[in-house]
Symmetry: C2
Subunit: 301 residues, 2 copies
């Protein structure tokens, strides 16, 4: 089944304690689409790039089978640029700059062929943009969205209207607390369910993730990694892998959701082993399966 | 099989955002022994109390079947007193006071009947005291110890000598990082294995725990609790439940260790629902089993 991913496609500058890279391929849409592309189903990407966006990057996305018909290239505009710096233990990130450029005025109109999409993932974007996409898609089987602290603080009303329309909200633990004012994650999750989503998935970084519905609780372990190079894009890779697996089995039961979270966890674990999507270029599906099995073993008791 | 627990037996003053209790029964030995007592095997406790220690507290411990022959009452001394205050989300604790009193000069000599102990748990105590107990016990099947930041900072050399002699070291994530200087918990765990233990169990509070050996990795979820009253004693309850289960099955295989960690998690989850060991007074084993099953379900994928 087809997956539609809406998110940013950016040029990132990332500094870690040991290395710095400039203008590498990044963005929530990029990470999610690359992650989803491992699972063999058509992946369509909606986003915008500027005249400065290297064609080698779009070429790469196409080699992954990612359909870029929905990616607009603004010939007189500059691409979204983001810069971030990680502190010593790679768990804390400071944003150095965010140049929205062409993204500020991006109001995507879906190509007709995109409207009939079963699996829709709205990566981090302005809530109104996310809502506009939801309204353009006809009868999707599953709508999942991410968000971030900026929209919670600055566009709360619009965000609440968007959340009301999604089936699953994915966000990280600090965002869940910020959105609800609850310090206990279970209380926060239940408060979010009252906004409308049927399920909340809370990402906890190196501590894994949890999934909560009115009647279920799932605790997903993190993959035990010793070599982390760059955590950028981990959350989007998780979500992309999650969507990719669900579309591949075309099933959104509790059992499939849990397996999808673990495939998302595995794909994200590869992503953070190198900058940008570099590690993903060489990952074989057999390696994904091997880590999935290792996680299966890691929780058996 | 018999369990020997060495730890503190204290009078605690605990302040949470909503309530304050004074001189309640506490201490690492107390929490661990009460937790271990759920599993039906003889539990022996080594510790010291002062003339001011209420007999209602020792009476309670005896109603749990805990053998207090190894608990010394110093008639001209004052009990260990500890005071702590929790901030709003109950995840951060400030120690308000620590009055060691009689504990400062405590050098326990094991009763002869205690020397033949299969399962030894050394709760948080000075490393030399822990080592002295190890040297007094003949041929134990399993020696487990806890420690804390204070000993890591102040008595590192003695601590290293003690760790070398234990089978399993249990400590929390910040202590593991402090002890090894590693920010990645897997690196930290492997560094600790090089000191001598066969296994390291790292407690991560609301994020569960992990167990690491040279050849295995286990990720234990936390129990999803919505009502936390007082986290004091959670780590010791975890360790006590862990030891209690292992002694009850008299098996220290990987499979039993994992189950023991989950029973420890469950017992600790009850403990933090009320101050002191109050919640434990009414917990039925069927309630422990129910939460254990819920955790089984929470990790299935």
């Amino acid at each position: 089944m087809g997956i539609l991913i809406v998110g940013t496609i950016t040029l990132d500058t990332v500094q870690t304690p040991t290395e710095k890279v400039e203008d590498v391929l990044g963005g929530s849409g990029t990470y999610a689409a690359v992650a989803a592309s491992f699972f063999g189903n058509p992946v369509r990407l909606i986003g915008v790039v500027g005249a400065d966006f290297p064609s080698t990057y779009t070429d790469f996305l196409q080699t992954r089978g990612i359909d870029l018909e929905g990616v607009t290239r603004v010939q007189d505009g500059k691409s979204f640029r983001w810069g971030g710096k990680y502190t010593d233990d790679l768990n804390v990130r400071d944003t150095l700059f965010t140049e929205l450029n062409i993204v500020a005025d991006f109001n995507p109109v879906l190509p007709d062929t995109y409207k009939d999409t079963s699996y829709l993932f709205l990566a981090n974007d302005p809530p109104q943009l996310q809502l506009s996409i939801i309204e353009q898609v006809s009868n999707p089987k599953l709508v999942v969205s991410d968000t971030m602290d900026f929209w919670i603080n600055e566009q709360r009303e619009a965000l609440e209207k968007t959340i009301e329309r999604v089936d699953i909200l994915i966000l990280n633990d600090s965002e869940a607390k910020l959105l609800t004012g609850e310090s206990n994650l279970l209380h926060a999750a239940r408060a979010i369910l009252r906004y409308g989503p049927k399920r909340v998935i809370i990402k906890k970084g190196e501590h894994g993730a949890i999934s909560i519905t009115e009647t279920s609780f799932f605790s997903a372990p993190a993959y035990p990694l010793t070599e982390v190079t760059d955590p950028t894009g981990a959350g989007d890779s998780f979500a992309g892998g999650f969507m990719g697996y669900l579309a591949s089995v075309d099933d959104i039961s509790e059992g499939s959701i849990r397996k999808a979270m673990m495939y998302g966890t595995v794909v994200a674990s590869f992503n953070i082993e190198d900058f940008s999507i570099n590690r993903q270029k060489s990952v074989q599906f057999s390696e994904i399966e091997a880590r999935y099995q290792k996680l299966q073993d890691a929780v058996q008791f």
